[in-house]
Symmetry: C2
Subunit: 807 residues, 2 copies
C-alpha cells in the first residue's frame, strides 16, 4: 500500500490510527474530543476493521467515570482499548488512571487538551486538563500538529505495549483537533510494522482469566504498600529509550524523524524557549524569521513530557544557552511556577550540579494561550525580547493586558511574519448557514486537486446557530505552519450584509485584496448602503469588490437560506486558485460525494447553485467618495458602563482588548445584558396580522428569544402611538374596550419561524417578510413605544433566555 495525502483535521488524523489498532473503544463525548468518538462509532457501524481484521466494539457509557471503569475492566482481560476525552471528563477518569498505571496496563487515551472551568467555563484549548493528571504515572506524548496527531498516536500505542505503562497522547483542543491540514496518511502496513504483535500477545497473556486465576485490586497495608510502589521504577526508566527507538523506526519508515526533545534554531543560540503543543510551531516559524534578522535564538519542543527525561532535555540544549524561557499553557495559581517550568528548573539544576552543563542559564517562566487565546509571532517576539532585556519579567503572561498585577508582556500587534507564499482567505458566515461546511470542502478540493498544502481553522461563537462564524483558510506550495488566526488576508468574504454594521471585517484585508459580499442590493445601489468606514477601507486598501445576491439565488433554486455552495463557487472563481473549469468540476464532484445519498434532486439543486453563481458574480466599481452612514453604536447610549466597556467589545469581536482590571475577578457577571445586543441577524422576520389573530399568545410563548411580546392596553393610552403600530380589539369579555398588541422585536429575532409554525389561527396571524432596513427602523420605533405602554395585562418575559450553546 502506498501512502496518500489527505486533508483532514487533528481528530480525524488521530482516529485513523487509534481505531485501526484497538478492539474496544469506550466513549463519552466531550468537546473538543467528540468527533474522535463519533468517527470511531461511525467506522464501527460501517463495519470497518482494525489492522487485525476485527471490528472494534464501540460503546458509549453514562459518563467518563464509567468509561474509565469499563476500560479498566476490558484492559485487565487483555484487550486493546482506547478512549477520547478532555477537561473535566479526564478528571472523572483519574481514580482508574492511577490503578491502570500501578497495574502496568498498556493503553493510550487520546486527549484534546482543554481548559478547566474556573472563573468561567471554556470549551477551548490549553493544557489545564492534562497537567492536572501528570502525577498519575501515565506516559504523556504531545502532538504539535495534525500530522503528528496521527504519527504520535501510533508511536504511543507501541510504546505503551512495550513499556506496559499507559499513555496519554494529547494535542491542543480546537487549535490542533479542529485544524484541517493536508497530511500523509499512514497505511495499515505501516501500523503493522510499528505495533509489535508479540507485545499484543504478551498483553493478552497477562489478562485475568479463570483458566489461570490470579488476583488484582488487592489492599496493601503499611508493611508492603510502599515497597509495592517502588517495583515500577525500572519500567519508567526504560520508557525514554523505548520511545526513541520507536521514533527511529518510524522515522526510517516515513522520513519523519522525531525525538523526545527536538531543537530548532541557531546551533549557538543564547536565548531559547522550551514548550510543547501547537504553539511551538508558531515559535519555530518566528525563530526562523528572527534568525534571518540576526538573532541567536532557538526552541526546544517537548514531545515526551512523562516520563520526563531530564538528561535528554539537557542534551537537546545548545551549550551556548544563557537564558531559557519556559512557556506553559496552563495556570496553577499558588504554585511557585507552572508545571513545565518546574520540570526544566529541576532538569537544568541537576545538570549544573552534576557539571553536565558548564554555565548556569537563567530560567524564566511564561504563560500563554489559555482557553485557546491567540498565540502569535508578535507574542513570540515579545518573549525573546523579554529574555534579552536588561531586567526580564519572570512568571509573565503574554496575551492579556494585565493592568492589575502587571504580569503581562507588551507586544507589537503589527509584527507579522507571514510571507507571500501563502494565500489567506477569511469568510464571515452566519452559524448554520453552511459557510464552515463549504470551506471544509474548499480545503479538501485544494488539497486533492492541487499540489498546494492547505490549512483550515474555524472560529465559532458559542451562541452557535445564528451567530458569526469565521473561517480561516490558508494554502500554498510550502507546508502551511501557522497555528494562529489570519492577520493579513488576500480575500475576505462576508456572507451576511448586517455584519458590516457590527464587525470590522476589512481590518484584516491586505492592500490590493479582494472583498466579496452577499447582498440583495444591486451593483449600482450597494456602495451607498455600506457604512462609511467600510467604504474608506475599500478605497484606502485599493481592494477589489465583488457582490452576489446569494440569498435570492439560493431561494430561487430551492436551497432556502443555504447559500454555501454559491459563495464557495464565487470564492473559487474570484480567487483563481483553480481555473474556472477545474473549479466547477471539482465543486460538482464534491457535491456528488457529499449529497449523492440524498438523491438526484438535492444534487441538482446544488449543481444549479454552482451554475447560477458563475453567472451572477458582479464586480463593483469603487467610487472615490465616501458617502455611507456611520456604523451604529454596538450598544445603546443608555447601556450600563460595564456593557459599554466590556460586553460591547466582546460583541464587536475585540474581547481580547479587554484589560484584566475590566474583567470581573470571580466570574460574577451582571444579568440582563443581552437586551443591549441588537443582533439583527434574521434574514426574514415575522410580521403580525391583527385581522387573523385569535390572541392565544402562543407565538410569544414559543419564541426562544422573547422577540414577540403581547400587551392588553387601554385605548386612551394609545393616543400618541406611531402610525405603524398595529392593534386589535382585545378578545374576551373581561377585556372589553381594550386593545391587544402583539409586538415583534425584529432586532432580536433570529428568524427561526417557530412563531409562524405554531400559530393555530386558521389564517396564520404571523407571516415572514424580508428583514429590510425599512422594517427594522419602523419596528424599532414601535418597540420603543410598546415598551413604555402601561400594560393592563400582558406577558412579560425577560430576554435572558435559553440561548443554546454547545457546552
Amino acid at each position: 500500500m502506498s501512502r496518500k495525502m489527505v486533508t483532514i483535521d487533528g481528530n480525524q488524523a488521530c482516529t485513523h490510527v487509534d481505531y485501526a489498532t484497538c478492539e474496544i473503544i469506550t466513549i463519552y463525548l466531550i468537546t473538543p474530543s467528540s468527533s474522535m468518538a463519533a468517527e470511531a462509532d461511525a467506522k464501527a457501524t460501517a463495519g470497518q476493521k482494525n489492522i487485525w481484521g476485527s471490528v472494534p466494539a464501540v460503546t458509549q457509557m453514562q459518563s467518563e467515570g464509567g468509561v474509565a471503569g469499563s476500560l479498566h475492566g476490558s484492559l485487565t482481560t487483555g484487550a486493546l482499548c482506547t478512549t477520547f476525552t478532555a477537561s473535566q471528563g479526564l478528571f472523572l477518569m483519574m481514580p482508574n488512571m492511577y490503578k491502570l498505571a500501578g497495574e502496568l496496563t498498556p493503553t493510550v487515551f487520546h486527549i484534546t487538551a482543554r481548559s478547566i472551568a474556573c472563573q468561567g467555563l471554556s470549551i477551548f484549548g490549553d493544557h489545564g486538563d492534562v497537567m492536572a493528571v501528570r502525577q498519575t504515572g501515565w506516559g504523556m506524548l504531545c502532538s504539535q500538529n495534525v500530522q503528528e496527531c496521527q504519527d504520535m498516536a501510533l508511536i504511543a500505542t507501541q510504546a505503551a505495549l512495550k513499556s506496559r505503562v499507559p499513555f496519554m497522547h494529547f494535542f491542543d483542543g480546537f487549535r490542533t483537533s479542529h485544524e484541517i491540514q493536508k497530511i500523509e496518511q499512514l497505511t495499515e502496513d505501516d501500523m503493522r510494522a510499528i505495533v509489535d504483535e508479540d507485545l499484543v500477545v504478551a498483553h493478552r497473556q497477562r489478562g485475568l482469566s479463570p483458566d489461570r486465576p490470579m488476583m488484582r485490586g488487592t489492599a496493601q497495608n503499611p508493611d508492603v504498600y510502599f515497597t509495592g510502589r517502588e517495583t515500577v521504577n525500572k519500567y519508567y526508566e526504560a520508557i525514554p529509550a523505548i520511545i526513541q527507538e520507536t521514533m527511529n523506526k518510524f522515522g526510517a519508515m516515513t522520513g519523519r524523524q522525531y525525538h523526545l526533545f527536538d531543537y530548532y534554531g541557531d546551533p549557538e543560540a543564547e536565548d531559547i524557549i522550551i514548550m510543547m503543543g501547537s504553539g511551538s510551531e508558531t515559535v519555530a516559524a518566528t525563530v526562523e524569521y528572527l534568525i534571518s534578522q540576526g538573532r541567536k535564538i532557538g526552541l526546544i519542543v517537548v514531545r515526551l513530557f512523562r516520563p520526563f527525561d531530564s538528561k535528554a532535555m539537557v542534551n537537546a540544549m545548545p551549550a551556548t544557552v544563557q537564558r531559557i524561557t519556559v512557556l506553559d499553557r496552563t495556570k496553577e495559581p499558588g504554585a511557585p511556577g507552572d508545571p513545565l517550568y518546574l520540570d526544566i528548573r529541576a532538569a537544568v539544576g541537576e545538570a549544573v550540579e552534576s557539571s553536565i552543563v558548564n554555565l548556569q542559564p537563567r530560567i524564566l517562566a511564561g504563560r500563554y494561550g489559555l482557553g485557546s487565546a491567540e498565540f502569535t509571532p508578535a507574542m513570540v517576539k515579545a518573549v525573546y525580547d523579554n529574555m534579552a532585556s536588561w531586567a526580564p519579567k519572570n512568571h509573565f503572561c503574554v496575551g492579556p493586558d494585565d493592568d492589575v498585577a502587571f504580569t503581562s508582556l507588551d507586544y507589537d500587534k503589527s509584527f507579522n511574519i507571514e510571507g507571500d507564499d501563502v494565500y489567506r482567505a477569511m469568510f464571515f458566515g452566519l452559524g448554520a448557514d453552511g459557510t464552515v461546511g463549504a470551506n471544509k470542502n474548499t480545503i479538501k478540493i485544494i488539497g486533492t486537486e492541487t499540489d498546494n498544502s492547505a490549512q483550515g481553522y474555524f472560529v465559532y461563537d458559542s451562541k452557535k446557530s445564528g451567530s458569526i462564524t469565521t473561517s480561516h483558510l490558508r494554502f500554498g506550495k510550502n507546508q502551511v505552519v501557522a497555528p494562529y488566526l489570519i492577520n493579513k488576508a488576500n480575500f475576505v468574504a462576508c456572507h451576511n450584509f448586517t455584519f458590516l454594521d457590527k464587525y470590522d471585517m476589512l481590518a484584516n484585508l491586505e492592500d490590493g485584496g479582494t472583498f466579496l459580499l452577499t447582498t440583495t442590493f444591486k451593483k449600482t445601489q450597494v456602495w451607498k448602503q455600506l457604512p462609511a468606514e467600510v467604504q474608506k477601507q475599500i478605497i484606502a486598501k485599493k481592494a477589489k469588490f465583488y457582490i452576489i445576491d446569494a440569498i435570492k439565488l439560493a431561494e430561487a433554486i430551492g436551497l432556502g437560506a443555504r447559500i454555501n455552495m454559491i459563495m464557495q463557487t464565487a470564492f473559487f472563481l474570484i480567487s483563481g486558485i483553480l481555473t474556472q473549469k477545474q473549479a466547477i468540476k471539482a465543486i460538482k464532484d464534491a457535491i456528488k460525494k457529499t449529497y449523492g445519498k440524498k438523491g438526484d434532486k438535492v444534487v441538482k439543486m446544488n449543481y444549479d447553485a454552482v451554475d447560477t453563481a458563475v453567472k451572477n458574480i458582479v464586480e463593483v466599481k469603487i467610487p472615490k467618495t465616501v458617502s455611507g452612514h456611520e456604523k451604529p453604536a454596538t450598544v445603546p447610549a443608555d447601556a450600563p458602563d460595564f456593557v459599554k466597556e466590556v460586553t460591547a467589545k466582546m460583541i464587536q469581536g475585540h474581547g481580547d482588548e479587554i484589560k484584566v482590571s475590566q474583567m470581573p475577578d470571580d466570574g460574577t457577571w451582571p444579568t440582563g445584558t443581552t437586551q443591549y445586543e441588537k443582533r439583527n441577524i434574521a434574514v426574514h422576520v415575522p410580521v403580525w396580522k391583527p385581522e387573523n389573530c385569535i390572541q392565544c399568545g402562543r407565538c410569544s410563548l414559543v419564541c426562544p428569544h422573547a422577540a414577540i411580546r403581547m400587551k392588553i392596553v387601554k385605548t386612551a393610552d394609545l393616543k400618541k402611538s406611531p402610525k405603524s403600530l398595529k392593534t386589535a380589539a382585545a378578545v374576551g369579555k373581561q377585556f372589553k374596550g381594550r386593545k391587544a398588541i402583539v409586538q415583534v422585536f425584529t432586532e432580536d429575532c433570529c428568524g427561526c419561524t417557530l412563531c409562524v409554525y405554531e400559530c393555530p389561527a386558521k389564517k396564520k396571524a404571523l407571516e415572514m417578510i424580508d428583514n429590510t432596513e425599512k422594517v427594522r427602523t419602523q419596528e424599532a420605533v414601535n418597540v420603543k413605544y410598546f415598551l413604555e405602554l402601561p400594560s393592563w395585562l400582558g406577558i412579560h418575559r425577560r430576554r435572558e433566555c435559553n440561548r443554546s450553546s454547545l457546552l
Copy 2:
C-alpha cells in the same frame, strides 16, 4: 472561658474548630476522614451550636461528587461550609474545586491525606491525594500533629475568608488523624477572636440572591477567558501575608507561634531537610538528638504549601546551608522529581539567580512513608548521612529495600533516640476484643488525672474483627513527640495466648520491662506452655512476668469475651502510673461515663471486672531453664515459595522486610493463599455432635470462613481413619451404606458461633467448646485425613472467601 487540656485524636481536634465555625457541613464518609464527618453529624444531632449560636446542617450525599456540587451551591449563596475527605474521594471533588477557586469562594476542606490506589489499594496515609489537587488553585495548609489539626483549622478558616481563596487543611491520614494526644483546646472565644465577622458578612453579601441578581458559571470564549484567569493574581499574592498575620494573632493569643516555614536546628546548619506533615516531628526530634552528637543540621517544616512563598522559604534557610534534602510523601512516577522537591528547586534556583542566596546549595530528593509506611529516627539519620556522604543518592526512597533499581537508602534499624522520660507500652489484642477502646480510655485517664502528656496510636490489621490490633501508648512529663511506632517498650501486654506462637511480641520489650499475659494456664503451668523463644527472651531481658485469666474472669462476670476492663486495670496496677486507689477510682469514673447510659447492670459488671482484676493479677517467677516448644512454622512446608517468602512474612508482622524484587510489579497476586494461614484465633470452636445432626449442611453454608465442610464417603475408605474422626450414617436413600462427615477446621475458625446459631436440629448438632491445644491438635489430624478422603459427594468451597475489611 479558660482553655482546657483534652486527650483526643487529630480528627476530633480538627472537628472541634470546623464544626464551630460552619453552618453547612456536607459529608461522604471515607477512611481516614470518616470520624470527622461522624462527629460533626453526632454534634448536630445533639443540637450543639456553632460560635454564632446556630446548629450546622449536616447532610450526607451520594458520593464526594455530590458533596462538592452541593457545597459549591451552598457557598455560592454565602453560607459557611466545610467537608472532610481523602484519597479518591478528593478526586471526585476536583471539577468543583477549580470552580470554587476560580470564583474566589472561601471554604476549608479538611483532608486526612491518604494514598491513592495504584498497584494495590491503601487506606493509609501519604500525600498522594492532596498533591494530586495542588494545581486547583486552592490554598494548602498542613498540620504536623494533633494540636495543629485544631490550630490550623482555625487559621485556615480565617485566611480563606480574608483571602477569598478556598483552602485545603490537610494532615497525615491515620498517623495524625488517629493519633491521640493531649492538647490545649481552643475556646469559642478564641475562635471568635480569630474569625473576623466582617469577612463573614462580606461573604454573605457576595452570595447569589434574587434580591441582587448576578450571574456565575458563565462560559468564556478565547477572547476573554485568559484575561479572566489573570484577574486572580493579586488574591494569591496577598495570601502569605494574610496567613502570617493570622498566625501572629493566633500566637499572641495562645503562645503557639507558627510561621509559613518553621526552621528547627543549628542556626549554622550545613545539611537541612525540607518537608511537611507528621514525619517532620520525627525529623525534628532526631535533629535535636544528632545536634547533641555534634552534627550541624536542621529542618524546614512547610506549613503553607500553596500558595508557595518562595521568598519566605529561602528566608527560613540558614545562610550556611550547603546541602538540602527535600522529602516527599508521595510518588509521581515519570516526573523529574516529586512535588515538594520541584518547588524547592524553583525557589532556590530563583533565589540564586536573584543573588538572594550566595552559595548554591546542592539539592537532593527523597521519598518516605508511602501508605503509612513507618518513618523512624533511624531513617532520618540515614537521610542526613546520605547528604553528608561523598556520593549522595538522589531521588532515593527510605524504608523499602529496593534491590531492583537500588533507589533505597540503607539504615541502621537499631538506631533509637527515645529517652527514659517517656513510658512506652504496647498491647497486642484481638480485633473487637475491646483492647483498643480500653487503651483509648487509658490515655484519657492519664491525660486527665495526671500532668503527663499522652500519646496513643493503634495499628489495625485490615482483616479487622478477629485479627491482631496493636496499641502503642506513650506518656511522660514532657510533650510526647514520636509519630512512629514503639521500638523499645517498658510494658508489653498480650491479650491472646495464641499470639505467642505467631508474633515476636517481646522483640520490642526493653531490658527489665514488664510482660503481661492473659492465659487460662495457672501460675505453675504457664511457663512450660510458652514457646522456647519467648522463654529465652524473658530470661535474657530480665523481664517481669504477670498473668491473669482474663477470659475466665470476664465470662464469670457476664462480660463474655470482652476482657478489656480487666486488662486495663491490670496495666494500671502493674505499671504504677497511678496509685492503686487513684487508678481504681479513675477507671470506675471512666466506666460510669462510658457505660452509664447502658444501665446500672452494665456499669456494675465493669466495676466487677476492675475489682476482680485487682485480686487476680499473678506474678510468675521466672525459671532459669528454657523448656518450651519451638514455634510452629507460619505456613506449612508444602506452601508455594511465594507464600513462604512473602505471605508468611506479612502474617508474622514482618512485611516491611520484603524486598522490592519479591513484590509483584503490577499488583498481581496469586490466589488461594489464605489456606496457608492457620490463624487459630478462636477462643471457642464448634464441635460436631453426629448424633444430633440431620445433615442439612447449613452449618457449612453459613460459615463465613469455610471452616466447616461436609463429605459423604464410602465406609471402605475410612479404614485408616484417626480414632478421633467422627462419622455418622449418611441420611438419604441414595447414600445408603455411606458415611457423612461434618469436619470442623478449628485452625481456620474465628469463633463467630454462626454455625451453632443456624443449626436447625432440635438438639443442636454443633456446640462451642474451649479451643484448647488438645482440641486443635486432634482436629488438625482429622482435617488432614478428611482433606485426603475421596469425596463421594460433598460441599467444596474455596477458602478465598469474604474476609471483611474496612475499605
